[in-house]
Amino acid sequence: MPLEYYLVLSALLFTIGVVGVLVRRNAIIIFMCIELMLNAANLAFVAISRSLGEASGQVFVIFVMAVAAAEVAIGLAIIVSVFKHQQTINVDEVNSLKG
């Protein structure tokens, strides 16, 4: 399987993630789209890692996953606190700096 196929797939997945962030207004779904983009990057990492014949690409994927886990924990905590304050997680309605 040539490398380009994986890279094209990764690019498409990333784009879907970007479009999701642009189109959807629900904070949780936007968050899922960010995960999708991270995953697309992971796919490119692993594909290139195999094509170069060394494992460091996979090590980076592990780092990305660890950071993604940290990010999800923080992000969901923020979403929960925003929801408690404003009873909504529509990002267009959550626009004031002062709660």
Binding site: V19, L22, I29, S49, L52, A66, V67, T88
Partner: protein, 177 residues
């Protein structure tokens, strides 16, 4: 078509459909489930690429922990009922989709053109499967030898996230009580 190609197109199609479903479903729970399907298809792709360890970690971390948290928060806040107008409409949406298509074309162009047949990377793509020894052992060796500092920094990030989350949510509950 050899089995690897069939599997690639199968997993690729599933992950793309799942990804599109994530942004089209109205209800967050269905979006989350589609995202899990995408993650699984990606784990399959990782196995095709010979990255078994990464595939297993993908399922453990993403499907097993992160998405459970998403579901937990969706259920806890009961988000399904109130986010009826989950998407923007009209011209803005069209604009976003056009931008997305542009980005996709750009990405595909780079992916195809950026890897010219002359590149050593592409040249070895077919033969590399044997040469790259990506067992769990070799990843562990890299992680604890060459990448020891990034590894430790990652653990610091996780610790910071842990403390941050506790502070974020604890303060809220104390104010309310």
């Amino acid at each position: 078509m050899n089995p690897e190609q069939i599997l690639f197109f199968l997993f690729g199609a599933v992950s793309l459909i799942g990804a599109i479903a994530v942004i089209s479903f109205r209800h967050p729970i269905y979006s989350a489930l589609s995202l899990i399907v995408t993650f699984f298809a990606q784990a399959g792709l990782f196995i095709l690429l010979g990255a078994h360890f990464v595939a297993a970690v993908q399922v453990i971390v993403y499907a097993g922990a992160i998405m459970v948290l998403f579901l937990f928060v969706i259920m806890l806040l009961n988000l399904g009922t109130l986010s009826a107008k989950g998407a923007i409409t009209g011209k803005l949406k069209g604009f976003a989709v056009i931008l997305g298509i542009l980005l996709a074309v750009e990405g595909v162009y780079i992916a195809v053109k950026g890897t010219k047949p002359g590149d050593p990377a592409v040249a070895s793509a077919e033969t590399a499967t044997e040469s790259v020894n990506t067992t769990t052992y070799s990843i562990g060796e890299l992680l604890f030898d060459e990448y020891l500092l990034p590894f430790e920094v990652t653990s610091l990030i996780l610790l910071a996230a842990l403390i941050g989350v506790i502070v974020l949510v604890k303060r809220e509950t104390q104010e309310e009580n």
